[in-house]
Point group: C2
Chain length 379, copies 2
Amino acid sequence: RKPSKITWDAADAEKSGFPHFMLKEIHEQPQTILDTMRGRYSYETGEADLPDIGLTPKEFAAVDRIWIVACGTSWHAGLVGKYLFEDMVRTPVQVDIGSEFRYRDPLVGKRDLFLTISQSGETADTLAAAREAKQKGARVVSIVNVVGSTLARESDGVLYTHCGPEIGVASTKAFTAQLTALYLMALHLARVRNVMKEADGKAWLDRLVRLPVLVESVLRREAEIVAIAKRYYKKRNFLFLGRGINYPIALEGSLKLKEISYIHAEGYAAGEMKHGPIALIDRDMPVVVLAPRDRLYEKTVSNLMEVKARHAPVIALVAEGERELGKTADAVFTIPETHPLISPILFTIPLQLLAYHIAVLRGADVDQPRNLAKSVTVE
Amino acid sequence: RKPSKITWDAADAEKSGFPHFMLKEIHEQPQTILDTMRGRYSYETGEADLPDIGLTPKEFAAVDRIWIVACGTSWHAGLVGKYLFEDMVRTPVQVDIGSEFRYRDPLVGKRDLFLTISQSGETADTLAAAREAKQKGARVVSIVNVVGSTLARESDGVLYTHCGPEIGVASTKAFTAQLTALYLMALHLARVRNVMKEADGKAWLDRLVRLPVLVESVLRREAEIVAIAKRYYKKRNFLFLGRGINYPIALEGSLKLKEISYIHAEGYAAGEMKHGPIALIDRDMPVVVLAPRDRLYEKTVSNLMEVKARHAPVIALVAEGERELGKTADAVFTIPETHPLISPILFTIPLQLLAYHIAVLRGADVDQPRNLAKSVTVE
């Protein structure tokens, strides 16, 4: 494998005028997403160019099944990856939590691609999972941020997220960089396995390269999120609802709020609400609904009406130009139009900002939340 | 398929002296587990005998992959099924939420076994998933309680849970009957696919037939759970932690509490705590820990110590004869010793009782929780 160098230094790790590292890192995302894509695709051929990926196109073509194993926020990225790969690559994906994978004699085989995701590359449970998969003969590829980390060194291939050091304990820019890496990897797999044509690869790249600008446009509307945070920051419980590829983003939005504001927030697949959790709903539990304009839109609106009927304050993230939900929800934030598979990054940004501003309003120590370490290097 | 008759009548649906249907149904479980097993196994051959299962042993042997799709509590049973089948049958299992499965053009194939689980047999999302799987050529087998329900009629094979009518909206006896059916099915698959020897099949049956007596012994200690409920019923947030095959039971325990007491309870894979949720922990959030004596025991103890260090009240469900956790936890309930794969049913019982007694102490309407319907026949 070619050596790769990431150039970052101490100055990058300063707050650059932001009150917290977390907010600085949230605002770096247009750049870090761009950096993670840069030089890794070819418009001419509609392909991703991932020289350190470790497997030849022929080896990728022979893969029977894909595993993704990770912990915490990286696990949420892995769940997005499942929807992405199954849709784009048409190959079954099994996603597992690092600490769960290790202890069940998993059915990993020699024809499996084993993908792990970890910002630090030192997450103990993920590292142990990678070692076990390797021992069982699987090829291991890792999406990692820290160059030269143990996971990067021990994997057959690496896809680095080029997002620089992440100081805030609650992961933000590392998460969207992981998603960006997954988009590149899905494109790579789809093209080398011949399930995506050149023209579709180009169309996919067209969408990807627009992401930094779209993320920037969301960040410029931070004041709207501040206003929403001010209305609801005193609530002690939240629900986050999503469907399909944005279900993991509901989990991630709730995890951010848990981590830094100590609010008991929980993410749910929207369709599961009526199987129990809706009993919880009352005027003291704001519900954040992720509602992209896709084939599930009508279902999501119907879930929302049920929630409204139980008097919960509803915060809706909706596609631009959407009116129906706008009339029903108590607070609305619009998300720029994009392909449904790419929408998770755009839904993530306002949820990061919401968690951040609620935590600040509650007087919590955003960059050093209680009880948490940046990388979990113990089991 | 042979017609099968379930004999129940209106008298069975009365409360028989219990203050609520839910409590009556919790106490029926030794009988309903027995009824679900009765006549469905052969000690002589160490096999399950499931005449309505719809597939021949040869067809089962040809299965490439198993899907389990369900909603709510039945989905939790499906998650237990995944651990069970992967361990006993050594075949990969994909578990999906009904409402999530339908909308992602899933990779179901002709060599797949598609298992659905629904008490009513009318759950809209599960039914639609079964129809889609059938259309894609998969063989559909359903675990259903209501005889002649739509799902039962439309499936290639049925495994009825013989637990009688369930009136309480929060499912209890139907859940443990579903688990019992999954144990029978795992045994059947393991034997017809030749991954389990006759002697091991017999040993497995030995453990299964002891279940009703063990469940009865847990129910006789209801007063211990009442005492725990009295100490913590005023808390507004709970966490439930489990690992491996008992992780879904942590989800189910938290769902029961949500449904009938309106407490915001959340289930978590214990190993994920340090990746975020531990920030939530303080003296106002009791943590219920499921700690069977298995190879994960030491890890679970270590998770528990972290929680204790953050001053959370800890309610530990531990294996009989266990002392270490007993000294650390604030409340302890012991679970009779059994095989780790069978322990989920035994862990479920005290969690049902805990949810019930907390709800009663809070004055909630246990049998008719707000906002919930018994069967979700709309999407």
